[in-house]
Symmetry: C2
Amino acid sequence: MTPKVYLAGPEVFLPDAVEVGRRKVAICARYGLAGLFPLDLDGPAVAPTSSAIFQACCAAMREADAVIANLTPFRGVGADPGTAFELGYMLAFGRPVFGYTNDPLAHLERVRSGFGPLRTERGQFFAADGYAVENFELFDNLMLAEALLAHGGTGVFTPAAPARSDPGRDLGTFERCVSHAAAALRDGSWGEARPKTFP
Amino acid sequence: MTPKVYLAGPEVFLPDAVEVGRRKVAICARYGLAGLFPLDLDGPAVAPTSSAIFQACCAAMREADAVIANLTPFRGVGADPGTAFELGYMLAFGRPVFGYTNDPLAHLERVRSGFGPLRTERGQFFAADGYAVENFELFDNLMLAEALLAHGGTGVFTPAAPARSDPGRDLGTFERCVSHAAAALRDGSWGEARPKTFP
């Protein structure tokens, strides 16, 4: 059976989201995976309600064997909250969770570039907003990063080069993540990057 | 038995997070709830690893009967991704999910104030980043907002007045949310704000 993979990410908000979704699904197919793209779930519904979209996405996640999440920062230093929500949802179901970001910066550098110089106090970094900055050399909030390590067989996929010119549509890092996900789903190696203390 | 409520939110990053956590737990106690604050989970561990924190938070969520999430925007227009992740996690477990924000603005207004004027095209709003803006009159991404409606007995709690001077430490809206959560957990009314099509 072809494994089904829920394709979470803020690209659903692009004006050409349907086309980007088609490209993602086509890449999945080349690696033997069936991609479920949120915009394809409702069919040609006219003006769907937020409730109907929520229900359709939850149903698709429950149907999926895994999630591949686009965790590129969205309107802030971190991942789209809707995508982060879906990552947590899939993890709680015990499904493998895979993710990538088209922003190569670590969390600390993202905060520094978005909020100016950081101050240090007793070994901790603080941003100008008065909140401490996580400094675990992870790409985003530790819950997201550790979820991928605990239940994805590896950490987040990041671009090797500096940020691309069109991070919303660049699917190079996505494809590396798909390739890993396909292999990990095939050989069951998605749970091995951290000691198996997760449920 | 006293219901246990996991207290999710970015206040764990405040320099006085331990004190804010104590105040939140004390408010919960006044309403008959046992608050589980993430910083209290690890005990006095020295320099815990990101993996240990992740495991401790997941274990506490699995132990909790519900979550109360602080969904105030954090370093961007939307909720802290770690908190959004935890909301999805608890929803997938079928637990009641409650939430509040100390920012009274709707999502569309948040994007407008963070990214400048929006343009409209075929009835849709777009921000300067080229992405469409959800326009469902919700406070944040629809997955978060609808989760609260589907599995919390009501929508998000927001402050009546404009943003407070210290939104990270103002617990007035939190207390209203706790009061609702305590009543909803007592009488089982947390699943009724939307038709019960959720699992």
